[in-house]
Symmetry: C2
Subunit: 335 residues, 2 copies
């Protein structure tokens, strides 16, 4: 079974678990409709799939790990709903965002309730008596800490807004920000799968490293797609990073490798909320001329290579192949 079949298979399993642990009939209706809106508008279920597949790779019980997988996806959706409010994004996954449909107050609450539900659901892992209690506790502790780090990452993201021309901001600042904002949840998903799958400490650490590397590559790829992606595949407007003055590595690199003429174009458009398509295309040309898209693309490739390299400490087999394929998919998605 290849990656796509394996993901499709998992998505069915996930849908059943989601309905079981977070049913559709909860009250008050408006609160729970708002909290489920994004969950129901699709998404690949990458993070819960990593919980599941990491558990499978270490030979664990995949049924026992499903509450944790649902929990991780709920945490992800909680952060998306709140991020969309903060960034004033109006579309995601091809549908209007929660605060656009229900207003900011209900969207804040919808995020909060996903967070608390995520933890409530995680406790279902305790009903599987063959899973070490200490490992469940440790998994939950890591997930709670991960949410703290994600909030720190989002704060960094906001504080870096508008700063690509500030020469004191380095690539390391960017890497630290996306590690916190994006990579840590992907990393923690892998750790939780290995922990609850009763994997060795060594295997937990290897999968952690794998998750961190693909997580970093994932965000870089996201930044590239945000500029040159297909709006339909993307599910949101192209160029929003430029409009919102985000500090992506693509833009950071361009600001450090442009000539005067290119800089003028960048400065004119960066952070401009009503950017036209003509202006966007001008910026895309600049990002191509400065080699910035190319640069970030090859950096993402390096992280994917590292991810695949660390995986080699596992024995060859179908489950390892799927994670290898998944690492490559990070770079291929969106085409």
């Amino acid at each position: 079974m290849g990656l796509q079949d394996s993901i499709a298979n998992f998505q069915r399993l996930f849908a059943i678990s989601l309905e079981r642990f977070f049913p559709d009939n909860l009250e008050p209706k408006n609160l729970y409709s708002a909290s489920k809106h994004l969950l129901k508008s699709g998404g690949k279920r990458l993070r819960p799939f990593l919980v599941y597949q990491s558990c499978k790779l270490v030979g664990g019980d995949i049924e026992a790990v499903m509450p944790a997988a649902v929990s991780v996806e709920l945490i992800h959706n909680f952060t998306l709903i709140h991020d969309d409010i903060m960034d004033e994004d109006e579309f995601r996954r091809g549908v209007p965002t929660v605060h656009v449909l229900w207003g900011v107050p209900m969207a804040i609450l919808a995020g909060d309730v996903l967070f608390s539900k995520a933890f409530e659901i995680f406790f279902h892992c305790f009903s599987f008596k063959h899973i070490d209690r200490e490992r469940i506790v440790e998994s939950m502790r890591r997930l709670a800490n991960t949410v703290t780090v994600i909030a720190e990452g989002q704060a960094l993201d906001m504080s870096l807004e508008g700063k690509i021309f500030d020469m004191s901001i380095t690539e390391l600042d960017y890497l630290n920000m996306i590690y916190k904002k994006t990579a840590i949840l992907i990393k923690t998903a892998c750790e939780i799968g290995a922990l609850l799958g009763m994997g060795s400490l060594e295997s937990v650490n290897v999968l952690s490293k794998y998750g961190e590397n693909i997580g970093l590559a994932f965000q870089m790829r996201d930044d590239i797609l945000g500029v040159i992606g297909d709006e339909k595949v993307l599910g949101k407007p192209v160029g929003s990073d430029i409009r919102e003055g985000k500090c992506t590595l693509v833009l950071l690199h361009a600001a450090r490798n442009c000539d005067d003429n290119q800089r003028k174009k960048l400065q004119k458009c960066y952070g401009k909320r009503d950017l036209s398509n003509v202006e966007l295309n001008e910026i895309i040309d600049v990002l191509k001329e400065t080699g910035s898209l190319e640069y970030v693309s090859s950096l993402a490739e390096k992280y994917v290579l590292s991810a695949k390299e660390v995986l080699k400490s596992f024995f060859e087999g179908e489950d390892r192949d799927i994670l290898m394929e998944l690492a490559d998919y990070i770079l291929a998605r969106g085409y």
Copy 2:
């Protein structure tokens, strides 16, 4: 030692634990300053005190319960920060609210990080080896569920806005809403103290009932103070419930027990954001004439009596006396 000494004593203990588990030097600075703003502007620490005192009453180890006490206060502050955004309240505890000082995006994030930190800190209870692991897990499970219920309560609160003249809304709807919005966290604080204090199941249930009763009385008292309280003691503008069209029992009762003339005054002012002091005083007169303040006051008294009644299943002693006194204090505060 009486209630006031006991609370003052606890507040010192709490400050030390807070600094230990949630130190001041965390980065990024703006995120953590925002998240600590309300925590530092005072508050009586009622909820963590109840964790502590319930533990003490069942003869538990008060040191082992301090992480949980800090956790409960952080959860409380997280809900306050988000509620203030939703209700557009600009003052609390005599200082501007978090979103007024840092903006809505950072205030959302400050609430989120208090939530995740609360859970992170709770895990410190596991370092006390004499506390039953199952009880710590059960305490955390209840706290996670409590946050879900609080979000549901806030959603109900918002959906009841502007509805005091809707005759299908009953006192029971109000009680259900304040149970979820306010009472459950006070109840859970008591339960957690008894659970971690290794109290009997019976004592956990008794303290749960005590907490629920004082929690309901607390919100009723809050609703009364919101109308006739002293602005300086209150720390926020008087009459905001009327301005925001909240569905408090005081207003609900008045709408059901007023004559035509009184109804006209109520309808004119209810939900009016720019209510003048003259108008506010007119409404206060109506609430006095209809006996609504009196009605809610005596209902709150009944709940306090019930709280004290259930406590009698504990042996007499200083620790029980303090909780008895605390129940009475719920009605006396704000004068």
